[in-house]
Symmetry: C2
Subunit: 584 residues, 2 copies
């Protein structure tokens, strides 16, 4: 196929009220078609023939959503809900029922393309405020009706699927306001359905908009930034790309207000207390299974984009880059904001997307070999001199570990494109190519074994891509984020591969999730990972908050999973490795 002849990419937008309009990432008309070089690389890596991109192959889901699924809720219940929120805020049409029942998991996209929906809700309710939520949850508790909260709908772990139907609370419709900026405490009070870009925009322009003394930033920039609501950060334990400096959602939240079947409460606004186990922290990561987060107070940070320092390095090897990352995090000079190490295969992909052959050969001569060399991108933020000094120290440590400085340009390019990369998914899927991600948390002791186990497993399958990066750094470890690609054969084949990766990760001592949450996708691994004693604690909390099991019921957090659906590591998890440990 002539490289100049572009494939017949799908022409957006997807038809209104179509299945495709639901599965699509990004805004309705937004696309990011693969470049020629990316496409030729994929063709090569996945062992496709030259003809592969001649025509689109996969179901496209262009029909108008139409389901033949009776309501599982009686007219009495619908009327009761209407009397709470008003008739205009209760929807039972097919499109609403499907739209607010699906997240962004690849498997869900495949279902929607087939136009064969599985579990969906019966009613979508658009609460006007937290009092509405309180009344709805109380009603559902009384009448044993399942309730699922839906914010941006960006879950990639099937965290929000209404497994048993019932009600979906569409929080984005009305509960989407910044309620207060408290400049002294440096906090913002927000409603959970506020979309993250709107929140960041409000903070970045706080001086103009609210007359504050400073502009602010939320500090939280997940890959799902354009798609996620601020209320989803905490229940899923999300992490943003600048978390190495700002902290993750767990750190950034200041106080929370929940509505649960057994009552509502707001945690206190204290920076630290010693008043027993911290209730706010018990709620973090509860994925809607304990209650609905109806209001949240986040810490905010001075917005100082002019001070941002960009840097980029090429390391001869993954090991050297990881060592440098560890040294940076343990160096006691502050932390970079973005810090991102791409492994050999991911670095090669980036070279193929952006680089040129001449540069590549020159680098080979300098000892930076293909499939071994690793690109490191990053930024330092904060007060001007602080940010400069962090960059200086990162440079020093990187050079001590064999790196070549490659300027801040690659980071700037990454920053420009970072939220649009996921859009490639639709074009690829149209041509029967699946790209998905798995991610894990590791400490510095077990990173090698987890990385090796994960990569060897994926690459043990012919014609697979496996791009890995570490992108959230801590003094005690980091995460591994694996983007894997393969040609579609069947949904089951793909799911088997993905489950196999998680099995290998957990067996090698990694966590089943670093920041995607568990959802229904990863629920089978939770008990094997935590052990019965720790799972029993989650079960006890669930029983307390939700005695009738109405809050996001089902597999979530592995709570209701039958024994035969629980997966356990295939080998004894080594936990913390003893290699390098000095017993004294």
């Amino acid at each position: 196929m002539d490289k100049k002849e572009a494939p017949d990419w799908y022409k957006p937008p997807a038809p209104e009220r179509s299945y495709r309009s639901i599965l699509k990432l990004g805004k309705p008309g937004e696309v990011k078609h693969p470049s020629d070089s990316w496409r030729s690389m994929v063709t090569e890596e996945l062992g496709l023939d030259e003809e592969h991109f001649r025509e689109r192959k996969h179901e496209e889901g262009n029909s108008t959503v139409s389901i033949d699924r009776p309501l599982g809720l009686s007219h009495t219940h619908i009327t009761a809900l209407e009397s709470i929120v008003g008739g205009e805020n209760v929807a039972t049409d097919d499109y609403s029922r499907v739209k607010f029942s699906y997240g962004k998991l690849l498997d869900e996209a495949i279902e929607l393309r087939r136009e064969e929906v599985s579990s969906i809700c019966d009613v979508v309710v658009h609460p006007r405020d937290k009092n509405d939520v309180r009344a709805i949850v109380a009603y559902c508790h009384e009448h044993r009706i399942p309730v699922t909260a839906f914010g941006g709908g960006s879950s990639v772990t099937s965290g929000l699927r209404p497994e048993f139907g019932g009600i979906v609370l569409a929080l984005r419709t009305h509960m989407n306001k910044v309620l207060a900026i408290n400049e002294k405490n440096q906090t913002a009070v927000v409603q959970p359905g506020l979309m993250t870009p709107d929140y960041e925009d409000a903070l970045n322009n706080a001086r103009t908009r609210y007359g504050t003394a400073h502009d602010y930033t939320c500090g939280h920039f997940p890959q799902s930034f354009p798609l996620c609501s601020v209320g989803g950060w905490v229940p899923t334990l999300a992490t943003g790309q600048a978390s190495t400096y700002y902290g993750d959602a767990y750190d950034i939240v200041f106080s929370q207000e929940y509505v649960t079947p057994v009552g509502s409460f707001k945690t206190h606004d204290f920076p630290a207390t010693a008043t027993g186990p911290k209730v706010g922290d018990i709620m973090k990561g509860s994925e809607g299974a304990f209650g609905v987060l109806v209001e949240v107070t986040y810490k905010i940070f001075r917005y100082l984009p002019d001070n941002r320092q960009y840097f980029g390095f090429l390391f001869p090897s993954w090991e050297q880059a990881i060592t440098a990352g560890r040294e940076v995090m343990q160096g006691e000079f502050g932390h970079p904001a973005v810090f991102r190490i791409s492994d050999g295969e991911e670095t090669e992909t980036i070279f193929r997307m952006y680089g040129n052959e001449l540069v590549s050969r020159f680098l080979e001569m300098r000892g930076f070999k293909k499939m071994q060399r690793c690109l490191v991108l990053g930024t330092a933020e904060g007060e001007k001199h602080f940010a400069k000094h962090v960059k200086k120290m990162v440079k020093k440590i990187s050079r001590q570990n064999g790196a070549m400085y490659v300027s801040g340009l690659p980071t700037k390019m990454w920053e420009r494109d970072r939220y649009s990369h996921p859009l490639l998914r639709e074009d690829m899927m149209d041509f029967d190519i699946l790209i998905d991600t798995v991610e894990t948390s590791v400490n510095w002791e077990n990173i090698d074994s987890v990385y090796t186990a994960m990569r060897e497993f994926v690459k043990g399958h012919p014609n697979t891509m496996c791009l890995t990066h570490a992108s959230h750094f801590y003094p005690q470890g980091t995460n591994l984020y694996c983007i894997f690609g393969l040609r579609y054969t069947s949904l089951e084949d793909f799911q088997t591969l993905r489950s196999g990766i998680v099995d290998r990760i957990v067996a090698a001592g990694g966590s089943p999730s670093h920041h995607h949450g568990m959802g229904r996708l990863l629920a089978p691994w939770i008990e094997g990972h935590l052990g019965r004693e720790q799972m029993d604690i989650l079960r006890a909390l669930k029983r307390h908050f939700d005695p009738h099991n109405i809050m996001n019921p089902g597999a979530l957090l592995g709570l209701d999973l039958p024994e035969d659906q629980k997966r356990r590591p295939s080998a004894q998890s080594p936990g913390i490795a003893t290699k390098g440990t000095q017993t004294v």
Copy 2:
């Protein structure tokens, strides 16, 4: 009384196996007698006459401990315990029973001086390892015997009193080892009975002792440093004096291993995960009511004492010093390690202890007025240039807020003496003068109202001292630590005053505890503070972990408190103040 004539201070050491040997702070022979200037200040402030220090007035508790208290445990139980840990590790003698039943709360010291002990344990067991603890807890669970873990015994909130007798686990005796230093992860695995100074000493000398590449520090320096064990940090949510940089116990812990009546578990060694609510964090602050912490992995930090930067400032007012503290914490240039603002009265006390009248008058002329001027002490730590830059920024912000730089000397003096100040307590008590502390967490919005309410209440009582400092800083707030002093009239009068202070703090929106834990002392405030819904979560956890209520049973965390013993704020708690909040 002639200043040159020193009072007849008690001559240490206290008699062996005496009540006094139990209540004493510091090492057996260690004393720190009040200076003449401190004594004359106390005389003045508390409205005492010149004769007051002529002779010691209070009971001294010099008798050998001897109690007429039958064992509440049968011979069968004692034998069973002996068969678990060996006869040499089970003690039922009077001295052991009293020694391992008392913490360091002032009220406990008064009891011991009177030689009238209240609740004590029946048996002291010295477990050899975590397997012993497991066997003992299982036995006690089966036979409904109360179990209390005892580390350093430094609780000042009566957190470890065996209210219902039973067994005390003396963890310090055998379970006091550093088990491993993991240099890659930068963590240390320790047993809970390891004393904090021994731990810090091991880390500071890690290169010599363990052949590591660096020396390390634990980063945790509470006032109780000489007295506390490392296993007490987490269950009580302790905070060290350098927490503004290193974080508090909550932050410093990496993973934990617990023995509970319903099973044992170790949390994972990950820097962050998204695998549901974090079990490790649920256990933090549980004060022994859920289980026994039998092993803990702490994060450790590079030990870089040569890089430490000292600074000191005098501010014209409390408000200006607090504003500077907030600006420092929100400035995005890293945080100082120690940062400590003394209020007007505390600053005057320090002047009286160390300063001279000439300097004081000179400062008055410069606008730093007595009882208004505030001393700020601090250090910056970490990598050399980082620490210097933090100091530079603190200087800049302090000057912008009206401060005069007074060098690092006052901080060095504070650092030298910091752990010996509490020793003054015994000399003072010998002369019927009580000095105690109350502390609270505040955010920047409510600090003024809490400070004012607390101080006005104490000073509303004639002849009281009320020295306050803020010493743990966060971007969203700080703590207030109040040292109050009064002449002893009766234990009840003193307790009424102290309870009144806590009432005022909580009513004004402060937390009942920032880092002392709740223990039995503060338990009455917990439900009023958290509200029923949040207390119910703690109750549900307690029921799960400890269905027979054997783990540190009683008032702890307010779990078993009868309704009429629960205190509520006397006014509606304002929670987060709305002053300055911009509703948008």
